[in-house]
């Protein structure tokens, strides 16, 4: 009887401590005792998730790691050199040119330069998702050594991939601007709508990067067929064509593609220099929030497995 009572008391104590952790009252990693220094308490995760306030606090505290990882990854790929920077600009430009010629060949009559600006703008923004998903899918497996040796929020690994993706996106805007102005495009205050649209795509892509990063641990061949999936995803997004060219009854179906609303809004803002339709912005925001929540919750709930599956 006494043993059972002691066990029950111990269980109650653990349960109370877990609740305190979940409420953020007790932060084991950040907790400093004047006499004994750091104190860490490790308890079973509740429904597969660690205490979220504490977890997010740790992510913020170690954000420098994600930025440094992104910086060193870019340096390892020589993107810090003059030729590396040039390749960052040339690669998407060449890709855009190929698609432009291809679309012209299929249509049998040439498109104006403004369409090239639309195509490049869409392609460059889509690459935030493409690079984020590709780099993110490898981030956990590639960081296996660190995962096996150090306790830190694994979320930082796909976040570093997203930082890399965003850094690769920013310089491409210069190319888009040159083509845009060369095609007679203007500059209006409505173009500021581009900022929330880029934010939407970045938030959504972060969720996708996290999902792919965790999924790659379970299916190592994901990175082999991910490029094909992303290529198909691009074809069903309004990049190689204008959103307005899509028949209305098909537009409804295309909105099931999260990138469709965001890229349609992006094209409206950059090409027509007009505020995007409210319904597209609302749908895009919804997809961005859903993508981030679904991707991050899936990733964090699987984090514990990484140390035993890598």
């Amino acid at each position: 009887m006494s043993t059972t009572s002691a066990e029950e008391k111990a269980k109650e104590a653990i349960s109370a401590e877990r609740e305190a952790l979940a409420d953020g009252h007790l932060l084991p990693e950040a907790y400093r005792d004047d006499e004994y220094g750091e104190r860490h308490v490790y308890l079973p995760h509740k429904v597969g998730l660690p205490p979220m306030r504490h977890y997010l606090g740790l992510v913020w505290k170690r954000r420098e790691f994600a930025f440094e990882l992104s910086r060193t990854t870019m340096r390892a790929k020589h993107f810090d050199t003059a030729f590396g920077q040039l390749w960052l600009l040339l690669n998407p430009l060449l890709l855009g040119s190929v698609y432009f010629l291809l679309v012209d060949l299929i249509r049998h009559h040439p498109r104006p330069l403004s369409f090239f600006a639309h195509l490049l703008g869409g392609l460059f923004l889509y690459q935030v998702l493409q690079t984020g998903a590709t780099e993110g899918s490898n981030s956990v497996v590639r960081g296996g050594g660190l995962i096996l040796n150090t306790a830190f929020p694994r979320t930082l690994l796909p976040l570093a991939s997203m930082a890399t993706s965003f850094k690769r996106f920013v310089p491409t805007l210069a190319i888009w601007a040159i083509i845009h102005f060369a095609s007679g495009g203007g500059l209006t205050i409505n173009m500021l709508w581009a900022i929330p649209i880029v934010a939407m795509v970045t938030v959504f892509s972060t969720g996708v990067a996290m999902f792919c990063g965790a999924a790659q641990v379970y299916f190592r061949d994901l990175s082999s067929f991910l490029p094909y999936l992303l290529r198909i995803w691009m074809y069903i997004s309004p990049i190689l064509y204008y959103w307005d060219d899509v028949p209305k009854h098909i537009q409804h179906w295309l909105l099931l593609n999260p990138m469709a609303s965001m890229l349609a809004s992006w094209s409206d803002v950059l090409q027509k220099q007009q505020a995007p339709p409210l319904n597209l912005m609302l749908i895009g925001t919804g997809w961005a929030i859903f993508g981030l929540l679904a991707g991050s919750l899936f990733f964090i709930s699987r984090e514990r497995d990484f140390a035993v599956r890598i």
């Binding site: 990693e29 860490h40 308490v41 490790y42 308890l43 440094e68 990882l69 340096r75 040796n149 067929f225």
Partner: protein
Amino acid sequence: MPSVSEQSHAHAGYRPASDVSIKVENVSITYRTAYEKIPTLRTTLLRLGRREKLVREIEAVKNVSFQVEKGTVLGVVGANGAGKSTLVRTIAGILPPTEGRVEVVGRVSTLLALGVGFNRELSGRENVILGGLAAGLNKMELEEKYEEIVDFAELGEFMDLPMRAYSSGMYGRLAFAVAIHMDPDILLIDEALSVGDAKFRRKSFDKMRSLCAEDRTIVLVSHAFGSIRDLCHQAVWMNKGHLEMWGEANDVVDAYRDFLGVKEDRTDKEDL
């Protein structure tokens, strides 16, 4: 053979919380893993087609309790698959327990497999910075420690080369140097003492002794009886996930050696 509870009272007992660095309470660790070493969607679909199980559940650690006092070197012995590494990863916070509670007082530094934590494409310098940032140090702290790490690892001119150019000995020396220079209150080492040449091993051994003298706590997983006897005050013996014995290092090694039915020879000191 004494039971766990007997051992607890005979050798360590429960000290006031102020003396305790690591407290492991009723910890069980279960995890699920794939049958294949490298699981793929293809193998998963094939298994589904054959109606085979996709994952297996492993009970790596079963209801283990012990505590380590400040300044103690604790050896962890046991056969392969006994749950030693899993237990140490839980103490490090890398693998949360399935049941129970682990409390660790102080900054933890880990050396849980040689070379891990290092990206071969990056330079030694970049790896030191990344490893330190992941462990919770800031850049200023790392810059202060950097020269000490390089000096200890004796890798001066190699630090700016990609680590793919390093020999396995250089890899191990850098990993050891990083782990011990993170100002750890608790150092967790998993079968990683046999790094570098004899001179470096001697230096590593001396450094660990000096950490002990500074009241730091060390947990050392090793198959080398000699290392456990020479370095450790206490030891735990893990057997098929259970804590078979916890007590004075020599007693635990004797019991484990008897269990294995082997004699000690000079290879038992190969870590040193």
